[in-house]
């Protein structure tokens, strides 16, 4: 078994992260495998709980692991398409842009991070989060539920901004000077729960598209957004162009 090297200049949690990541990549921890509980990992690697939590948090953020409340932490069954990185202008990726939405505001409030939200936003569990939930409609037909989470300290005035009429991205960039430099997108399919079905005018357990986006300004993650879409309302076009570099 690989152990941590305490003479190594690399931080312990980074070394532990490397070991756990290798276990996943080598299929020693296969898809769906429940990893040992924190205390067990502490005992095996002779490290503190903080070190174990930090390593797990990074693996959760990167999609290798998934936490399930009350059940444990599992090797994610999702395929992470890290190699499929593309660069484009933000306008082309923002669902807010270029579509004539009307918007129902469902929530614009403050909460604390629960479940794995702190990991997803890369903040500690005692940080306040601005939570915005909007229902987007075209021709009065609901097509998109959009939930946005922004650490309160990133942009406190956003709590009082009119995000029903204004683009969140324009507010962040033009009004508050927070420049988005990178977005990581994950596409997924889910079955709607009763509330989501009611909002989208679909029955419970109907399939829907989910776009999960992590937005960065430099190295700081500033926003996490989850958009649930009616499958009959969107077509995603992703075009790659080969360059001669």
């Amino acid at each position: 078994m690989t152990l941590l090297d305490r003479q190594n200049h690399r931080k312990l949690y980074v070394q532990l992260y490397d070991i756990m990541k290798k276990k996943i990549e080598d299929k020693e921890w296969s898809l769906g495998f429940r990893i040992p509980i924190e205390q067990e990992l502490c005992n095996v690697f002779e490290v503190s709980r903080v070190t174990v939590r930090s390593a797990i948090s990074v693996l959760v953020r990167q999609g290798y692991l998934i936490r399930q409340q009350g059940r444990g932490t599992f090797v994610s069954k999702k395929v992470i398409s890290d190699k499929l990185t593309m660069f484009t202008t933000f306008g082309e990726l923002m669902l807010e842009e270029g579509i004539d939405f009307s918007t129902d505001m469902l929530a614009q409030t403050i909460m604390m991070p629960v479940d794995d939200l702190a990991d997803k936003l890369n903040v500690s569990g005692d940080k306040h989060i601005i939570y915005i939930k909007r229902l987007r409609k075209v021709d009065n037909k609901p097509i998109l539920i959009q939930e946005t989470y922004i650490p309160f300290h990133i942009c406190p005035p956003l709590l009082e901004e009119d995000v029903r009429k204004n683009s969140l991205f324009e507010l962040l960039e033009r009004k508050h000077g927070i420049h988005l430099t990178r977005v990581r997108n994950y596409f997924d399919v889910k079955y709607l729960n009763a509330d989501e079905g009611m909002l989208l005018d679909l029955s419970e357990n109907s399939p829907a598209l989910v776009l999960t986006q992590h937005f960065f300004s430099g190295e700081t993650q500033i926003m996490y957004m989850r958009s649930i879409k009616r499958p009959d309302s969107f077509v995603f076009l992703i075009e790659f162009e080969k360059t001669d570099r």
Partner: protein
């Protein structure tokens, strides 16, 4: 107690306290309180957390006692004072522990809105602290929200600050 002291002199910032929306479950609220227990620096503990609606209006507070009451098995709850379970001794603890695993874990999935105490009493930042003390004492509160112009929620006064202020004046 120095003369002319007003609520805003003792007030804590709103964001020194954890916030939850009303649809959070009791178990989620408990986890949040436990995180705050560890990391809080400005206060030794959150004795209560704040419950808001979708538009960031304060709806109420959820104290540790409220949470325990919410987790208490229904069987233990008297419907009238006359029915209160008064028997002391190991049987009481046994009854609770037997019921706890069966029922309290389910109860922890209730939304906090079912358990919280609605916010009914407020003070303004420029109100004298004696007014805040009066309201806390006579309404059995551990904290009192501070509203600006009876509308904007700007902070909190806790029982401990009122106690410190008044006890200092008495001992002086």
């Amino acid at each position: 107690m120095s003369k002319g002291k007003v609520v805003k002199d003792l007030m804590l910032d709103v964001f020194d306290y954890p916030h939850v929306p009303y649809w959070f479950t009791l178990s989620q609220a408990i986890k949040i309180i436990k995180v705050s227990f560890i990391s809080a620096k400005k206060y030794p503990e959150p004795l209560a957390i704040l419950v808001f609606d979708e538009k960031y209006n304060l709806m109420g507070t959820l104290s540790l006692k409220n949470i325990l009451t919410g987790l208490e098995p229904r069987f233990m709850r008297p419907t009238t004072d006359a029915q209160a379970y008064t028997k002391e001794g190991p049987e009481l603890a046994l009854i609770w522990s037997t019921l706890f695993n069966k029922e309290s874990k389910d109860l922890a999935e209730k939304p906090v809105s079912e358990i919280m105490v609605p916010a009914k009493y407020f003070v303004e930042p420029d109100d004298p602290i004696t007014k805040a003390a009066f309201m806390i004492i006579h309404n059995d509160l551990i904290l009192l929200p501070v509203l600006e112009n009876k509308k904007k929620f700007v902070g909190l006064v806790r029982l401990i600050e009122i106690f410190n202020e008044i006890s200092d004046a008495v001992l002086k």
